[in-house]
């Protein structure tokens, strides 16, 4: 037995396998009904006094209820399949009084009349509701017929001669004296009604709980419009009025979010948020009932029985009763605080749930338990605080000075919190907080923390609850979140912690909301994805779950509806006892509604048909099947298919193709053989064609007047273009790339575009141009931007796989951290490295890039242009489409790279016309040392001197140089290296701590 917090009791009766429970009207006895045994538990001493009555039945007890009249408190009725049994219980002995049988199908609900000790009503799937007089058990005294079966029957608690039955989404209200038809016949919900309950004090009012995730309140005289609605996150299994105040207790059926097995207590005056949550059960709550120890006691107890086979008794003290609007005429002071309390709760409606549920259900549990308690003294509270809160260290707790100090740490931040408790805490006054931080935490963060702490403590104290632990927890989580946010998103305004806190607390408060799921599409349960190159991943349902005939639902919200209707169908197709009309929520054993369950229901249903004649056995087998299913339910493995054959890009060819533009004949011969080996006859023809096209006889002459070049003939460019067109159509990017490599010479285009650029805007062209020996003197432009881009560049470079770039390696090493002065030459090299990151030989580009700066007079230019035009015409591929050729190459290179063929990839990328996007951001403006003119390059254009002087030897730098990014001073790499071996500050004496300021 586990007795917690004095009043809240939890006892495990795992052996009973009971699915029904009832508490007698005196609150003394609870009966637990299982298939093999009925157990009577003395609730005053639940762990010790338990009597077991063995049953000789194969059937489960569907419903069980004690006689609600104190004079006949020893009687209880059970319903088992079609039969009603009446038992009498006298301290230790029981006897069956009578048995009533008239229903033709399972009884779904029974209810004793609250006005006549001898009358009991029963309703059934057979569409009849019967009234019995227990003194005459042979036949029912009255019968009421409806079209479909009823799931609930409930007597009005205020007036005699009125009861209600629930049929699917409809409610019928009957007068037993008028058996011909209902007084009222109304549609309450569009989905099935699971629970119905009359208001204990108002004659006309009742509440219905439904699958559609709502509880509606009705006045049966004005039944066209509901009197109010409570929106729950999940289908509501039961909603019953509290015996005090104007409250309601609901039990929801579990949804996608597993483990929502709480009971919620609501105040009917404000239905936005529950006022309390009873957390603790680890499975579906099957039944809950109220008891009161004796009339003198003001406290009620909620007795709950769950499928986890735990009986729990929750104390509902006056605090909680007040939250439900229950006013107790007590001492005036108490009265006052009570009224104040309930009003603040209403005001806060939305805020207050944020207080508890800090991080997990466990906390919720703990908080929940504390809230059962009367306020403790400070020393009690101190002794009970959980010392094991992550990241939090409780440093000191002093009851004399009434303070508690706590430190919390996340990452590099450490923060100290001191809480001072006023003497009248926790009754009126909230504690005071003091936050100290030595690690330069922003004042904004601290302010927010104060706010959170104050909110938390206020909400607790308003309910006269202790708040130390909630405060510490809130503090720790918020602190962590904030510093996390500070670390990650310093400037994102949309991320205010208050909103995220709100949504989070909302998420924790309510189970995953089904009524909101109407717009969430039903999830994929199978799929196929092409990934990487030539691989297809398939995942899906197993074979058992795959052969469904019905169409897949549209939205996730359909899931819950589906699973219940599916069960209805199953119950009606077989005579077996159905979950729908049982007294437990419609969730399969230990398996909450989930996507997989949607697919799995079908099987037991079809299977069960064989047991039609023996429903009980069938049900047994259903249970077993479910259990088995759970064990069996194994997912279809994820399969990876090799679909290279479906692509027109061959891996073997990619590996074996040779690319050698200098020896076209040899290359083609080799590649032809390769193509033949994979069975691509078209490629064999192509490779035999290429050497002919490339024959030296057809080489164009340099003179434009020598006649039309071969490329302009029909077997020249035209033929190649039609080939390319064909391979484009069949998406053979491999062949396309090979053609481009052979027939496309990027240098041609560059020279053309450069001459054009020269014409159009020389400055634009020069942007691309950074000579190898380009030396700035002073760095201008924004330093931070420059540093950032450098860091970024470095990072990116590190992330790049090494592609054997001969040029990259030395630069990378020169940029490594120990060398704190970065030379502009290095950066320009580095820049080049970034540009040519995938090329094997970037140096080859220097020649033609330099060449565009040659001065040409207009006449020469024209000649040049003509020559270029001719050269252009001589090309076998249209130079204007170079962008396309580049794309072929890049796509093919990407595929090669995915296959791990880095060498082949690099070979291909050598032929890309345009280097990748130049790295933006690194540009060093230079001021000439002599004439102060802005200079690009090593030599000043105005005074023709070396623009950058070494600060150590005062000689112009031509070669490698390093300079400080902060002060801009620098010089020959060797000199700088030597200087900074020993020194920290700038050699010019400008006061710059070069070593400190430079990140590298």
């Amino acid at each position: 037995m586990a007795s917690q917090w004095g009043e809240s009791v939890s006892i495990d009766y795992a052996d009973l396998q009971a699915n029904g429970m009832a508490v007698n009207c005196l609150g003394k006895w609870a009966v637990l009904a299982g298939r093999r045994v009925m157990a009577l538990v003395d609730l005053d001493d639940p762990g010790e006094k338990i009597y077991r009555l063995t049953r000789q039945s194969k059937w489960d007890i569907g419903c069980i209820q004690w006689n609600p009249h104190a004079s006949h408190a020893q009687l209880f009725a059970t319903a088992c399949t079609q039969r009603l049994d009446l038992y009498s219980w006298d301290e230790g002995t029981s006897k069956q009084v009578c048995s009533m049988k008239a229903h033709t199908r399972n009884i779904s609900d029974i209810d004793w009349s609250p006005f006549d000790v001898n009358v009991i009503a029963s309703c059934s799937v057979d569409a009849y509701t019967l009234l019995w007089d227990v003194r005459d058990p042979k036949r029912p005294t009255a019968s009421f017929q409806s079209v479909c079966g009823a799931s609930q029957v409930k007597w009005n608690k205020v007036t005699n001669n009125l009861f209600a039955t629930a049929h699917e989404g409809e409610v019928r209200i009957w007068d037993p004296r008028k058996p011909n038809g209902p007084l009222v016949y109304m549609t309450a919900h569009l989905s099935k009604i699971h629970g119905l309950d009359w208001n204990p004090s108002k004659e006309l009012i009742f509440a219905t709980a439904s699958q559609d995730c709502t509880v509606k309140f009705w006045d049966y005289l004005n039944w066209r419009q509901d009197k109010g609605m409570l929106k729950s996150g999940s289908p509501v299994w039961r909603a019953r009025y509290t015996p005090f105040g104007d409250g309601l207790v609901t039990v929801v059926t579990s949804t996608l979010r597993r483990g929502e097995y709480s009971l919620f207590l609501w105040n009917n005056a404000s239905l936005e948020q529950p006022v309390h949550q009873f957390v603790g059960h680890s499975d579906v709550v099957l039944e809950f009932q109220w008891r009161k120890k004796d009339d003198a006691s003001k406290d009620y107890q909620l007795v709950t029985w769950s499928r986890d086979q735990n009986l729990k008794i929750w104390k509902v003290d006056q605090q909680l009763q007040r939250l439900c609007g229950h006013e107790i005429a007590d001492s005036s002071e108490n009265e006052l605080s009570g009224a104040e309390c309930s009003s603040t709760v209403k005001e806060n409606g939305h805020d207050h749930p944020a207080l508890s549920e800090v991080d997990d259900a466990k906390t919720g549990n703990q908080l929940d338990q504390t809230s059962h308690q009367q306020p403790m003294t400070l020393s009690q509270e101190f002794s009970l605080v959980n010392q094991q809160i992550p990241n939090v260290n409780i440093e000191k707790m002093d009851t004399q000075q009434r303070l508690c100090s706590v430190s919390a740490s996340t990452g590099k931040h450490v923060i100290y919190l001191t809480i001072y408790f006023p003497t009248n805490y926790p009754h009126v006054a909230a504690p005071n907080f003091e936050i100290m931080s030595q690690t330069g935490l922003g004042s904004g963060v601290i302010k927010k923390l104060y706010k959170v702490l104050n909110e938390t403590s206020q909400t607790c104290v308003k309910r006269n609850l202790n708040c130390l632990e909630p405060c510490i927890r809130q503090f720790a989580t918020q602190f962590e979140n904030m510093t996390l946010e500070e670390r990650k998103t310093p400037d994102s305004d949309s991320f205010t912690p208050s909103t995220s806190k709100l949504t989070q607390s909302f998420m924790q408060q309510l189970p995953y909301a089904q009524f909101q799921d109407y717009s969430i599409p039903f999830p994929r349960t199978c799929g196929a994805r092409f990934n990487s190159a030539g691989l297809l991943i398939c995942f899906g349902r197993s074979k058992e779950a795959s052969n469904r005939s019905e169409k897949t639902p549209k939205a996730l919200s359909d899931l819950a509806v589906y699973s219940s209707t599916n069960r209805v169908r199953s119950s009606q197709s077989s005579s077996g006892f159905s979950t729908m009309f049982s007294r437990s929520p419609p969730t399969p054993k230990a398996e909450p509604v989930s996507i997989s369950s949607y697919y799995i229901y079908k099987r037991p249903r079809t299977k069960s048909r064989t047991f039609r004649d023996k429903p009980e056995q069938k049900w047994n087998s259903f249970d077993k099947a479910m259990k088995k299913e759970k064990k069996i339910f194994k997912l279809e493995p994820v399969k990876i298919f090799d679909i290279h054959c479906l692509l027109n890009v061959h891996r073997e060819l990619a590996e074996n193709y040779r690319l050698d533009v200098d020896n076209i004949n040899g290359m083609c011969e080799h590649n032809m053989k390769q193509a033949a080996s994979v069975g691509r006859k078209d490629l064999v023809r192509l490779w035999s064609l290429i050497p002919i096209t490339c024959s030296s006889v057809l080489k164009p002459s340099n003179n434009p007047d020598d006649g039309t070049p071969w490329a302009q003939q029909s077997f020249g460019r035209k033929m190649l273009e039609s080939l390319i067109e064909y391979y484009k159509k069949i998406y053979d990017v491999q062949t396309l790339a090979m053609i481009c490599c052979i027939f496309w010479d990027k240098k041609v285009l560059l020279s053309i575009t450069q001459s054009q650029n020269m014409k159009k805007s020389p400055s634009k062209a020069s942007l691309d141009y950074i000579p190898p020996n380009y030396n700035p003197y002073h760095t201008v432009s924004s330093m931070s931007g420059l540093l950032r881009s450098l860091t970024k560049a470095l990072k990116e470079q590190k992330q790049q796989e090494p592609v054997d770039d001969t040029a990259t390696i030395p630069e990378a090493s020169s940029l490594s951290p120990p060398v704190n002065v970065t030379s502009p030459t290095n950066t320009s090299f580095f820049y080049r490295a970034m540009v040519k990151i995938r090329r094997t030989n970037s140096l080859s580009d220097f020649s033609f890039e330099d060449y565009k700066f040659e001065e040409t007079d207009p006449k020469q230019k024209a000649e040049e242009l003509e020559r270029k035009q001719h050269e252009n015409n001589c090309r076998l591929l249209d130079p204007s489409k170079y962008g396309q050729y580049d794309n072929f190459l890049k796509v093919y290179a990407d595929i090669l790279y995915r296959w791990g063929l880095a060498n082949q990839c690099t070979e291909i990328l050598k032929h890309v016309t345009l280097p990748p996007e130049p790295h933006a951001g690194i540009e060093f403006g230079v001021q000439c040392y002599n004439c102060r003119a802005d200079v690009r390059g090593a030599k000043c254009g105005t005074c023709k001197m070396q623009a950058f002087n070494c600060v150590i030897c005062h000689i112009g730098v031509r070669g490698a140089s390093n300079f400080c990014l902060n002060c801009g001073h620098g010089g020959h790499t060797l000199h700088m290296k030597e200087w900074f071996k020993k020194e920290e500050s700038c050699p010019t004496g400008c006061g710059c701590q070069c070593m400190k300021w430079n990140p590298f």
Binding site: A533, I640, L646
Partner: protein, 317 residues
């Protein structure tokens, strides 16, 4: 011809909703209703569980791998309204960033082409699309297209960054395309582009008569043509094509299936489309030289067999 290379028993406790291989095809990530994301090493036919990532509080719907130049990064999204970016550092996986600024289930995540930087798009049932971009120093900028689709956004997919229009530029560098396509519960497919830092609607494609469940922008091999495939609750798959010269998109219905179609995927060269839906079947489609879409194979789940129909014929070389 088509052969099973590897079969991985994921040991998930509930339905798998997505499975994806990384860039090199050596690591498999799966996500499930059991709230977990698992990463397997599948190199060389083996299967080894690398990590079991827990952090979502509800079913995890979709995954996305980032380009390896940004490291081993996985983005996952789920019912709990969160997007989590997971990163491997020195062999251990951990949470890099968590984005929880959506008000409903996040249904789709997709990393942008690597040329655009480390950028992630997320589509949520709250109707918005978020674009998260890494600033490079560990923080993330979030931009939101609010009310991208009324009722909800179900899928996002990025356009290839290599611009087909670059062909017509004589000089200079081809500008990168920064566009994405999204599909939602308003039965629309929408194309978005970024202009001056703002995401604006570029195109609205109407054709489906029910929720659009998935959209996929076909990878480009450098042709001026853009292709988008979209599938819907109305059981149809539509191929949208744009010739690259105008802003008009023409549509062809690929096929009408028997059950909802919820997933599409293009092969790397963009010539084969994998279609899967509620009937637990996967079919591969290919465009013939005449421009007809034909089914070249059926992969039936639970049997693991691939029947290859016309794949030989359609190669037609």
């Amino acid at each position: 011809m088509v052969s099973v290379m590897n079969s991985i028993d994921t040991a998930h406790e509930d339905m798998i909703h997505d499975a994806q291989l990384d860039y090199y095809g050596t690591k498999l990530a799966t996500c499930s209703s059991d709230r977990s994301v698992k990463v397997f090493d599948v190199k060389g036919g083996q299967q080894r569980l690398v990590t079991d990532l827990r952090g979502h509080e509800g079913p995890v719907w979709q995954l996305a791998w980032a380009h390896p130049m940004y490291g081993n990064l996985i983005a996952s999204c789920g019912y709990d309204r969160k997007v989590i970016i997971w990163k491997e550092t020195n062999g251990t996986w951990g949470k890099l960033y968590e984005y929880s600024n959506h008000d409903s289930s996040v249904n789709s995540v997709c990393f942008a082409p690597h040329e655009l930087g480390l950028v992630l798009a997320c589509g949520s049932s709250d109707g918005s699309v978020s674009i998260l971009s890494s600033t490079g120093d560990g923080s993330w900028d979030a931009k939101k297209i609010k009310n991208a689709h009324t009722i909800g956004c179900n899928a996002v997919s990025w356009a290839p960054a290599l611009s087909p229009n670059a062909l017509f530029e004589q000089s200079g560098r081809p500008s990168l395309v920064k566009k994405l396509v999204s599909g939602g519960c308003d039965n629309l497919v929408k194309i978005w582009k970024e202009e001056e830092g703002e995401w604006i609607e570029d195109q609205k494609l109407e054709g489906h008569s029910d929720w659009v469940r998935d959209v996929a922008w076909a990878p480009s091999i450098g042709l001026p043509k853009s292709i988008i495939a979209s599938c819907s609750q109305d059981c149809r798959v539509i191929i949208w094509t744009n010739d690259g010269t105008s802003n008009n998109w023409s549509s062809t219905v690929l096929n009408k299936f028997k059950d909802v179609v919820w997933h599409l995927s293009w092969s790397i060269t963009g010539n084969i489309l994998a279609v899967s839906g509620g009937d637990n079947k996967v079919s591969l489609w290919k465009e013939t030289l005449e421009g007809q879409w034909v089914c070249i194979s059926d992969v039936k789940q639970g049997q693991g067999q691939v029947t290859e129909g016309q794949s030989q014929a359609s190669r037609n070389l």
